[in-house]
């Protein structure tokens, strides 16, 4: 890639006011570095991934409202986690976390476990029990 071809497309980087560095060749064919504000294919890929997560969050929300899962699964999706990541934060086996997705099991969870989930999601126990924003 030539230095003048380093893409300067719009991207989500602008929100944090930074540019990333790339290696590119100058007119004499020598390598140098250049800053880029973003590149469309990357933005498309990232937007796509974000959209995917939003869909997952909405789906989980509906399932909580239909009493098909507990708010834990909803907050897991909100925090872009999956089961292995959440289980790792909780220090529990994955099957145990999965069990806590059952509304009937969730209702019977003790304060200590609830508090631990609340801490992982950085919310209060009250917030953990409801899914209102």
């Amino acid at each position: 890639m030539k230095k003048e071809d380093v893409p300067q497309d719009e991207s989500n980087l602008a929100s944090a006011n930074f540019r990333e560095m790339l290696y590119a060749v100058d007119d004499d064919g020598k390598y140098t570095t250049s800053l880029s504000t973003g590149w469309d294919p990357k933005k498309i890929a990232l937007d796509n991934a974000i959209k995917e997560i939003e869909e997952r969050v909405n789906h989980a929300k509906n399932r909580v409202l239909n009493n098909e899962t507990s708010p834990i699964e909803y907050y897991m999706e909100v925090h872009k986690m999956d089961l292995p990541v959440l289980a790792s934060y909780m220090g529990l086996w994955q099957w145990r976390v999965k069990r806590h997705f059952k509304p009937s099991v969730f209702k019977k969870l003790n304060q200590k476990t609830l508090q631990k989930y609340a801490d992982v999601f950085d919310i209060s126990i009250e917030q953990l029990k409801s899914i209102d924003d």
Partner: protein, 335 residues
């Protein structure tokens, strides 16, 4: 206790975090080592496909070696001694960090990205192989040199603890590292040759999950995805390839350019004109990787369920595999 500790540390932005941390720590210790040199000597370039390991609900594709690998190999090949520590107890981890800062020693840290507050929200995923340098502490804030950022930044004690003790795959466990002793002169020439040989060997290894063989395997799977997974999931997987290729601080096409820059520098240092020619070829391969990203992103932008698009990018990937196979076989003989 109020502390006001600021080590005189020069922040240089880099394309990739681990190279950048190593390069900046080397410069701090009086050795002018560029980012590409770290990357090349540390054999950072790779391609690997781990279909059995899922991140963000898609298989893992990586264009670089394992976290920490680059620094390890770089140190070993240049004769530097490193100290690395991991911790169970966050308080202990903070104590050790403070002790080093008090001794005027900036340290490298492995951290998770999800709670890195200065990153744009959209970029904050559960990715635990990011690297930064801590070079001071003022009041309750640590001074941070994050090599992918343009300028230095800072994190509160609590914020730093959170990223040092992020959980999930490659959990950093407070991982802290820094060089403790250096040889009189760095053995760059032999180190460069060793670095090149290993990359050439790994990229052409007869193993399905690494190097050009892995690229061909991915190409084969791309063809199957639309039928096997449906357009939605197939697009998601394809997006993952591009994101792993071109995200902040990673970059597959990006890595190929860093490697080309390394070959150029190595050509001058070793007085080997063949490496200069190979650098040009690597640049051209990097361009082809970017074309691949453009075409792949077009497929999922249009939510195109026609499998002809998948066929096209699969072919592109196979061509890339052929080019890289030829490239690394030639490179191996050139040093």
């Amino acid at each position: 206790m109020t502390e006001n500790l600021k080590i005189d540390f020069a922040h240089n932005q880099s394309a990739h975090c681990e190279n950048g941390v190593v390069s900046n720590l080397m410069k701090h210790n009086g050795f002018q080592i560029s980012e590409p040199m770290v990357f090349g000597i540390g054999s950072g370039l790779l391609f690997s496909y781990l279909p059995f390991l899922k991140v963000n609900y898609a298989p893992v594709f990586t264009y670089r070696s394992m976290p920490g690998f680059i620094f390890n190999k770089f140190a070993k090949r240049t004769g530097i001694k490193m100290k690395r520590e991991k911790f169970k107890n966050p308080k202990k981890a903070q104590e050790r960090l403070d002790q080093n800062l008090a001794k005027n020693n900036p340290v490298g840290l492995q951290v998770g990205v999800y709670n890195l507050v200065y990153f744009p929200d959209e970029y904050r995923f559960h990715f635990n192989a990011h690297n930064m340098v801590v070079y001071g502490k003022q009041g309750d804030r640590y001074l941070i040199s994050d090599p992918v950022m343009e300028a230095v930044t800072s994190l509160s004690i609590k914020e730093l603890e959170k990223v040092r003790f992020a959980k999930g795959a490659f959990a950093p466990k407070g991982h802290m590292y820094y060089p403790i002793s250096f040889p009189e002169t760095l053995e760059l020439k032999t180190a460069i040759v060793k670095g090149i040989k290993q990359t050439a060997r790994d990229m052409t290894a007869p193993v399905p999950i690494v190097g050009v063989k892995a690229m061909r395997w991915v190409a084969k799977n791309i063809r199957k995805w639309p039928m096997k997974l449906g357009p939605k999931k197939a697009n998601h997987y394809l997006g993952q390839i591009v994101r792993m290729q071109e995200e902040i601080g990673t970059g597959g096409g990006g890595f190929r350019y860093i490697y080309a820059a390394f070959l150029q520098e190595a050509s001058t240092l070793l007085g080997n004109p063949k490496l200069m020619e190979l650098s040009k070829e690597m640049t051209s391969i990097g361009d082809a990787w970017r074309d691949f990203a453009v075409d792949a992103s077009r497929i999922y932008k249009n939510r195109n369920s026609k499998s002809s698009g998948y066929e096209d990018v699969a072919i592109q990937l196979e061509v890339l595999a052929d080019r890289e196979e030829h490239f690394f076989k030639t490179l191996k003989k050139a040093v």
